[in-house]
């Protein structure tokens, strides 16, 4: 697939992107490297994998990482209950070796996402989400899969990939990832979108919402993100929720009152809401010369 074709596919998937993102995806795809995406929470890292699955017309296999994730949850597990039942049933069997061998066959193998993604007949997109939440041991275990596209199961041997999945790893940078893992990946850092891009996303995802309102939401969100005092910056999903909520409430303009009533959609902790309230009060007291109620309807975001 060439860069222009990839762009067309991304367009068809209704995904808003810039040239940097498209080129990076193209590079990862061409080199057959896993793509490591970092960035703050809510900038659309996971969305990239979903969109790539749609663009490449592949199944998305998702693995959510968490502390304590191990091979049995990520790669494979033997179906112990079924194996024990089989032993009980075939207790009287003459050929003990054949029975032992059959216990470690596909019939008793429970595929987890990693194994599923490399044994699939059709190539898939494998999303390893929030890899920074998994332990370092798990990261080391991933190296074999990412570099050689194979995994080792002691009872079976080495399983090579039937098809090569397009692997997307995401990280919120909660902990630094190992150098070895980074070296095996193509790297992409996603920042919060600027006002134009945010507006384009709002327009694409919420076509029914008034364009002026979308513009005001994009501006307000950009201002909140640029504020040093706001600890949890609003994500793209939150700005979409906010615009949708304003629309559902029948609000056509983001006035100070509307802002105050719906701030909970975009700011999700008490400290940030307090800072927001204080800033609003300061704005009303000084910038327009009128008090809140006589403000003539213009907004102060």
């Amino acid at each position: 697939m060439e860069l222009t074709e990839l762009k067309q596919e991304l367009d068809q998937a209704n995904y808003i992107y810039d040239d940097t993102l498209a080129t990076t995806l193209y590079v990862a795809l061409k080199l057959g490297r896993p793509l490591l995406i970092e960035g703050a929470a809510g900038v659309g890292k996971t969305e990239v994998a979903k969109v790539m699955a749609a663009a490449l017309d592949r199944e998305l296999v998702r693995m959510q990482c968490y502390e304590g994730l191990d091979e049995s949850k990520a790669l494979y597990e033997w179906n112990y209950q079924k194996q024990l039942l089989s032993i009980q049933v075939n207790m009287s069997s003459e050929d003990k070796d054949a029975l032992t061998k059959s216990l470690f066959s596909d019939e008793y193998l429970l595929e987890r996402p990693l194994l599923k993604s490399i044994r699939s007949r059709r190539p898939v997109v494998l999303l390893i989400d929030e890899i920074d939440k998994a332990d370092e041991e798990f990261e080391a275990f991933l190296l074999e899969l990412l570099s050689d596209m194979q995994v080792s199961i002691p009872e079976v041997g080495t399983i090579r990939a039937n098809t090569v999945p397009f692997v997307v790893l995401t990280s919120n940078r909660a902990r630094p990832l190992s150098e070895a893992l980074r070296r095996r990946c193509a790297y992409l850092y996603i920042e919060y979108p600027d006002v134009e891009k945010e507006l384009a996303i709002l327009r694409a995802k919420l076509p029914h919402v008034d364009d002026r309102l979308c513009h005001q939401v994009a501006l307000a969100v950009a201002k909140l993100r640029s504020s040093e005092a706001i600890l949890k910056k609003p994500s793209i999903a939150e700005s979409l929720d906010w615009a949708a909520a304003l629309d559902a409430l029948g609000i056509r303009e983001l006035t100070p009152d509307a802002l105050r009533q719906t701030a909970g959609f975009v700011l999700k902790n008490a400290e940030d809401l307090n800072v927001f309230d204080q800033e609003q009060e300061e704005d009303h007291a000084c910038s327009c010369g009128h008090h809140d109620h006589h403000c003539g309807g213009h907004h102060h975001v």
């Binding site: 193209y26 990862a28 061409k30 209950q81 332990d135 790297y187």
Partner: protein, 422 residues
């Protein structure tokens, strides 16, 4: 591409430059870069830059370095000539400045590195120092030549230190390009009020991460060798009663007892607040901790006053130790003689101070006594290590105990992690 060999050679040279700047670039990356350029082409500079960045840079920090190196490497011919001309002029000026430095500092005992700093100063600054020297030169050899000599030496040393700080701050700009990284690498004492909540947020994030890592490490450490029957049987129920996997009792981990001695005088206040917050939030680092605050006198802080920054500041004011001078000797003597004794063989004493104190000999004697009583003494110093050579008190105290530089949140996190890990 018309001549693949030329481009491979250029890319190989580019890879070497990136390696020199600290990026971990191997032959695989260079091969990938060559391959991807055959697909992307060389028509669009931005596409080439993005494609190469994807291949070479593997973190946000590396991306910033990559952009800088790329912009310096792949430039137009005209810009290259202009740059070479500027570079030549700069080198000529530098050679002249070095010659001046050699002449001006002849017989003064300054090292070659310090002469380089002198040469890097502006012409006006060098002239100002020459004027001072000239003014006092005629007094040398009169009543007290040693005194004038020392005075001139200290004036020059101070100017060089300022120059070094100036150059280091210029280097720190790269980190500041990224707002997320900026606070991590900036001097804690220079945080603005508006940045403090963000810094606290960063501390919480880092300490949660370190706690998680330590917990995981302890969890994975070897078991005690004793079988845990209850857990083994429970696990066995999953496999129809077969004891498929044996479970062992974990080793009991012994954590440390920490005693923190924090300087809260004037300039140290902000650093101590951050460092305390950091250490307190590392619940995996120690079993118990006692915190002593000192300036001219010393007082023990209770857990309530350390809950947040406002309470901490209020406590320091109430105890009448705010805005006073520093007397480390008194504080350490108090720790050594207090009953019940805060220090013991299982205790790690952490001193948070910039080493400035009155009555240094008494402070050194007290530090030696504290070191004898405590299991370990570690000094967290907010002064960057590069400046330690200029400050006598730092050299003296660092000879007595382990001293770690913690001028930034990043340094502080590293030091706390090492402390918890050891």
């Amino acid at each position: 591409m018309s001549d693949g060999g030329v481009y491979s050679e250029k890319l190989s040279y580019f890879s070497r430059m990136l390696r020199r700047e600290g990026l971990s670039v191997g032959p695989q990356e260079t091969a990938d870069a060559c391959e991807i350029l055959t697909h992307v082409g060389l028509e669009d500079r931005e596409s080439v830059k993005t494609a190469l960045r994807t291949v070479y840079a593997k973190s946000r920090e590396e991306q910033l370095t990559f952009d800088r190196v790329f912009d310096g490497f792949f430039i137009s011919e005209e810009a290259m000539r202009e740059q070479a001309k500027r570079q030549m002029e700069k080198e000529q000026q530098m050679a002249e400045a070095r010659q001046e430095a050699r002449e001006d500092l002849q017989g003064t005992g300054f090292s070659e590195q310090q002469k380089e700093l002198y040469a890097a100063m502006s012409a006006e600054q060098r002239q100002r120092l020459r004027d001072i020297k000239k003014k006092f030169d005629k007094d040398l050899g009169r009543n007290n030549p040693g005194l004038y000599g020392n005075f001139i030496h200290s004036v020059f040393a101070r100017a060089m230190l300022e120059q070094q700080m100036l150059m280091e701050n210029a280097g720190a700009d790269v980190a500041e390009l990224d707002p997320e990284l900026g606070l991590l690498y900036r001097d804690i004492g220079q945080f603005k009020d508006v940045e403090i909540p963000k810094a606290i947020h960063i501390i919480q994030d880092i300490s949660r991460k370190i706690n998680g890592e330590l917990t995981a490490k302890r969890k994975n450490k070897a078991h005690s060798g004793k079988l845990d029957f209850r857990r083994t049987i429970r696990k066995g129920l999953e496999t129809g009663g077969s004891l498929y996997r044996l479970k062992y009792r974990r080793k009991r981990q012994r954590k440390k007892h920490l005693v923190l001695l924090c300087d809260v005088s004037g300039s140290m206040m902000q650093f101590s607040e951050f460092a305390l917050r950091f250490i307190q939030s590392l619940n995996q680092a120690s079993d118990s901790s006692r915190v002593f605050l000192f300036s001219e006198s010393v007082t023990e802080a209770d857990a309530f006053s350390l809950q947040n920054m406002d309470l901490f500041r209020q406590f320091v004011r109430d105890q009448n130790i705010y805005g006073k001078g520093t007397d480390l000797g008194t504080a350490l003597s108090h720790l050594c003689t207090a009953k019940p004794a805060p220090l013991g063989a299982a205790t790690t004493l952490l001193i948070l101070s910039d080493t400035k104190t009155i009555d240094q000999p008494r402070a050194i004697a007290a530090l030696q006594e504290a070191k004898r009583q405590a299991g370990k003494v570690i000094w967290l110093n907010p002064i960057p290590e590069s400046k330690w050579g200029y400050i006598r008190s730092v050299q003296v105290f660092s000879n007595v105990c382990t001293m770690v530089s913690c001028s930034t949140l990043h340094d502080l996190a590293q030091a706390c992690k090492r402390l918890a890990d050891s």
